[in-house]
């Protein structure tokens, strides 16, 4: 048994007021506009805006399913307990030039560093989860922090939102006003009649009203659970800040409005399709692709996941197909 080293390696504030961080051979440094990432075989710059939005989600989702690409170079792969941090691994040119680099860390170690980086590099008024139209800009020298925004509790229902003792529905009183782009979404709750003794069994809620009150974007959270089947709806505006390369099939049900998905080969990044989804559309995202969504108006998307721990190995070994249906 070895104990995990969760010590965060950081150096004091630079001339812009931001700490620098180290994870193995990777170094992270921020200035007024950019994040500079270096590794033994290369260097990379990202806009601090794009970087913090991706970092926020990687932290909040505990590295999610499969690959979270921050952009075409940097990203993480979740092995559920340990995590790869990579540069250029899913980029043909980097791999061909042998400039790609990958290191594996215990989840707690990389999460500890990522959380501290997120906290130090997020200035007052900037919310990496918010639509860019609803938050201040992240630029400039170090200016305060936004702990409340970056440490939001992720919704994770046990059975369903609204069931007695489970996640609560949202209201003005609980701090979730209706979003400006969902002002026309009906807020009526279902009629629920419960006979005595069945208070823990009979439950219903208005999912669309619940989503209209979400204060975050591109953040799937669990509202209902059937064994390993998870409903993870989310509200989307602007661009998904990561390019998600799943280790399993996931499904999208477009509940409202419109999203255009760019789908690329998971390993090379080569374009494969555009999937254009309107209200009521259902589509699978195969397990060998990466995808990034564009939502011109805030929209409601139901992401449907199979949380089974066996799936990544089944798909990687070819025992389960990379696409869900044969017809």
């Amino acid at each position: 048994m070895s104990t995990t080293d969760t010590t965060v390696k950081s150096s004091p504030a630079n001339e812009h007021g931001y700490k620098s961080f180290e994870l193995g051979g990777f170094k992270f440094h921020r200035d007024e506009f950019f994040v500079h990432v270096t590794w033994p075989t290369g260097t990379h710059l990202m806009s601090v805006d794009t970087f913090l939005r991706a970092l926020q989600r990687d932290c909040a989702w505990n590295f999610f399913y499969g690959t979270v690409n921050f952009d075409h170079v940097i990203g993480t792969i979740n092995h559920y307990g340990n995590v790869d941090l990579f540069a250029g691994k899913f980029n043909d040119a980097y791999r061909t030039a042998e400039l790609d680099h990958l290191e594996n860390f215990p989840s707690e170690q990389i999460l500890g560093t990522f959380r501290e980086m997120l906290a130090d590099w997020t200035n007052a008024g900037y919310d990496p989860f918010a639509s860019p139209a609803e938050t201040a800009a992240p630029w400039g020298v170090k200016n305060g922090d936004n702990t409340a925004a970056i440490t939001r509790q992720r919704v994770a229902a046990t059975r369903m939102v609204g069931v007695k003792g489970d996640e609560k529905i949202r209201s003005d009183e609980s701090g979730y006003p209706v979003n400006r782009m969902f002002a026309d979404v009906p807020q009526d709750e279902p009629e629920v009649h419960i006979e005595p003794g069945f208070e823990s069994e009979i439950a219903a809620f208005n999912l669309f009203a619940y989503l209209s009150r979400s204060d975050v974007t591109w953040n799937p959270s669990v509202v209902s659970v059937v064994k390993e089947s998870l409903y993870c709806p989310t509200t989307e505006e602007y661009i998904l800040p990561v390019v998600h390369g799943n280790d399993r099939v996931e499904w999208f049900i477009q509940l409202s409005d419109f999203i255009s998905w760019d789908v690329q080969d998971r390993d090379s990044g080569s374009p494969r399709a555009k999937v254009i989804m309107k209200a009521g559309d259902v589509a699978a995202m195969p397990a060998d692709i990466r995808h990034q969504g564009y939502s011109p108006k805030r929209s409601m998307l139901l992401v449907w996941e199979n949380n089974s721990a066996d799936l990544p190995a089944l798909i990687a070994s070819g025992k389960a197909p990379t696409y869900p249906i044969n017809f």
Binding site: E189, E195, A204, R248, V249, A273, K274, W304, P324
Partner: protein, 164 residues
């Protein structure tokens, strides 16, 4: 201030999206539309629109009264259009399916204790708790999306519902 219009679909009004293929097979995306599927279904058919191993999402065209169903695991039901009443009974003796996946029909009205009922309109989601019996009633044609497991009632007709 701009007035935004949120677009939901319905049986009478929906616009299906599309796939622009660059280098792939459209069948890999199993792209369908719940309202189009419901438009082509018979009342209370359970048509799979998404499948992930043993797990399924089914579209149901709700019209009049359904049979009674039982299930050994939790399920959920989401109303996508219309208005549907769901009535629940706790059966006196176990009527369910020895751990089998998905929902199962039972003959007649189950003997047991009334648990209550819910009335769902568009966007409303209800729990269908395990080991209870339930049935749907809709005065006008409505659309439901059920979160369940692939079971004896699940109909798979991918070639007729998906883009190819």
């Amino acid at each position: 201030m701009t007035e935004y219009k949120t677009v939901f679909g319905s049986l009478d009004s929906y616009e299906k999206g599309r796939i622009e293929i660059i280098d792939d097979d459209p069948k890999h995306y199993a792209f369908s539309n719940v309202f189009e599927v419901a438009n082509k279904s018979k009342a209370y058919e359970k048509v799979a629109v998404a499948l992930n191993q043993q797990y399924a999402l089914e579209v149901i065209r709700a019209e009049g009264d359904s049979d009674w169903f039982v299930c050994d695991h939790d399920e959920t039901i989401l109303c996508m259009d219309g208005e549907v009443r769901v009535e629940f009974v706790k059966p006196d003796k176990a009527l369910h399916s020895d751990g089998a996946d998905g929902s199962h029909p039972i003959a007649g009205v189950p003997a047991g204790k009334p648990m209550g009922h819910v009335l769902l309109r568009r966007g409303h989601q209800a729990l269908l708790p395990k080991h209870s019996a339930y049935r749907f009633s809709a005065k006008k044609t409505s659309v439901l999306l059920q979160q369940t497991l692939n079971g004896p009632l699940t109909k798979q007709r991918w070639a007729s519902i998906c883009l190819s």
